[in-house]
Amino acid sequence: MNKRMLNVIFIFLLVSFVPGCRDRLDLENSTNNLALGVDLDNEDNLLFYLHNPVYGRGIKNENLVLKVKSQTIRQARGKQDEQAPGVITGRKVQVMLIGKRILEHEDWFQMLDVFFRDMKNPLTPRIIAVNGPISDIMYLNPKDQPILPLMLRGMIDTKSAKSETVQTTLQNLHWQMVEKGVTPCISEIQLDKAKRIMLTGAMLLDHKGKFKTSLDTEDTILLQILNKNAKQPVNLTLTIPGHEKSGPIHTDHVSILVQSMNTKVKTSYQQNKFRFDINIKMPVDLTELSFPFDVRKNGKELENSISKQVQKKFVNLIKKIQEQQIDPIGLGLNARAHEYRQYKKVEDHWGEALSKADIHISVKVNIRSMGPLK
């Protein structure tokens, strides 16, 4: 009898004191931040933009964009809280836009520390560089498109699957910044003249996050092949010399679908510099041929000229990278794995060492199918 009373009292005490609902936040009380933008204004003040969806009856504009001047992201959130209808939460951030003006400075990456330190924040937002002021994009609000964060994320995810841009999440970027043998590479967007968002390819940064150069979609595809990131089939359109062009119609093009390519890198160290032999085997399917050609008969010839053209493109890309003293391909990883002693010496200025390295590329194209036409 006595014992039962004790148990009841004990359970009563537990129920009244223990429930741990202090971390609760109702959806109605939260303003979910889906896109975060960081930019500099003309006087070099940091600007933070937050893009939040708002729900409710009678609301015409369902996008709430908040803009504040501030020094850090966490501080900005405090200021933005003053303007937001609910508590701003960053748990659902989908994309992070970084203005090109920021990328012209070093060490901006440290600013994102809050995403790594505060476990409530995700590490999966896609990093996008914006060529132009971010405010144009944030306030764009086009009527014929889904809300901005979802549209951008969709763009990045689908285009990166086709290797037309890179999918650099915050976690990937962290690795690319910390790793000495690789330099960062992020997606790039800009507004075209008709005020539509365009995904232009990828942007290459140096070790400290400073802008170096931009790649168009075609170069990005090549880079992704070198990176071994091109897991799904990619499209390439090439010009084949020796076929004349008649008027405004281009009759010298061939389009190929490259699938399950195989990239092999051989690393060595000779004559005081690194040497990389990159062998790429590309099985291709012909998808378009804009000049009359008997593929069945002269397949080998076509294979050779495609190989030559692709190889030329790769060589140009490598040259561009070496000129900028960066390494978005991650050849530094190969150098460390195979020539550690030499790599250790140049580790801290790997970009410079790579610019002096010999990089040889050989491409072997193998036509697998020509389609139903011969």
Binding site: R22, D23, K120, W175
Partner: protein, 366 residues
């Protein structure tokens, strides 16, 4: 004279008890520690420690074979007298209690950091202690079943760790021996901390149904531990590069942060909540054995009163004092050092003493 016959545990439960206790919390920070000490060669240290730990645990079994129907406490009483038995009981109870408390504190801090930032620590502690009481109250057999259940419920963990591999670069694992063998051996001492827990055999041995299998059980559980550690370490090494991995306190959790499904984006929160089952193996068995020692001390059978005392003590204590992350880390290091003494050095001394003693007596009988 089977005085522990009522509470037998099976071979499987014995393996899981050992495996669970050794693994419980260590695997969160292990890859970082290994990387800090030995870079990409850290995993070799695991294999070295695996061999040493197996040897040490087999010594424990050898000691216990001399007195198969009693625990360490009974054995010491027989060989060294009552007073020594009592001293050993107190020390062992303190050690196990400290082991359990360290695990609890670490778990509370992890929960506070990753899941419930605004909930006070003592509430989390009480929430963890309630199921602990329910299980420990019922003795060893229920404990064994609980451990089995936890293992079954956690079978998904290795599979989930295969998901982040799409972002892994295997080149990061090379060159294996960056700076030669020295760092590998330097990493060995701090790896011992991640392998303590087999001293439970001192208590569990008489409860084991089939005692001849004890050594095999320990070998199996240590091999499982080694494989699991190796698996997680190699995945972390391939996923993070060696500079990056040191920036995270618990790389094993960070690996999961980028897993995305179309239907749920922040999956790691759910994973951490599931981990609690595994974490619980660091304090539930130790708390049981700790109160087992103290009840043995006063010569009673019912361990529940001591359990209630310990329970209230921890719950109330947490209300007034909760260690910070730094203190918790210091506690872990201290536990590692004490554990090295209790689990690696003490059994060797004990075995030497016991065998000398036996031989001496044998001569006298002649």
């Amino acid at each position: 004279m089977k005085k522990y016959g009522l509470n037998e545990i099976t071979f499987m439960q014995y393996i899981f008890l050992n495996f669970g206790m050794v693994l419980s919390i260590g695997f969160l920070s292990l890859p970082r520690v290994l990387s800090e000490q030995a870079g990409t060669a850290g995993w070799i240290a695991l294999i070295i420690v695996w061999v040493i730990s197996m040897a040490a645990s087999l010594i424990v079994v050898q000691v216990m074979k001399r007195y198969p129907d009693g625990t360490l406490l009974d054995l010491v009483t027989v060989y060294l007298g009552k007073g020594a038995g009592k001293v050993v009981a107190i020390l062992f109870a303190l050690y196990l209690c400290y082991y359990g408390y360290t695990g609890l504190v670490y778990t509370v801090l992890i929960i506070k950091q990753y899941l419930l930032q605004q909930t006070p620590a003592y509430i989390i502690m009480i929430l963890l202690l309630i199921p602990t009481y329910v299980i420990v109250r019922n003795g060893l057999r229920i404990l064994g079943r609980y451990v089995e259940l936890v293992m079954l419920l956690s079978l998904w963990i290795p599979i989930v760790y295969l998901l982040p591999l799409k972002d892994a670069h295997w080149l990061r694992l090379f060159p294996v021996l960056k700076e030669g063998w020295e760092p590998v051996f330097a990493a060995v001492p701090s790896t011992f901390y991640y392998h303590i827990g087999f001293s439970t055999t001192f208590i569990l041995y008489p409860f084991l149904k089939n005692k001849r299998m004890a050594s095999i059980g320990l070998v199996i559980s240590y091999t499982l531990t080694m494989l699991m550690y190796l698996f997680i370490t190699i995945i972390c090494f391939a996923y993070f590069n060696s500079d990056e991995i040191m920036e995270y306190n618990e790389p094993t959790i960070n690996v999961l942060k980028t897993i995305e499904f179309t239907f749920i984006s922040r999956i790691e929160v759910i994973f951490i909540a599931f981990y609690l089952l595994i974490f619980s193996l660091s304090w539930i068995p130790t708390m049981y054995m700790s109160v087992f020692c103290t009840t043995w001390l006063i010569g009673k059978q019912d361990h529940r009163n001591h359990l209630r005392l310990l329970w209230v003590f921890i719950a109330v204590g947490t209300f007034f004092f909760m260690p910070t992350v730094f203190q918790s880390e210091k506690m872990n290091t201290l536990l590692g050092q004490i554990g090295l003494g209790v689990e690696y050095i003490a059994p060797v001394c004990l075995l030497l003493y016991v065998s000398v003693h036996d031989r001496f007596r044998w001569r006298k009988h002649l």
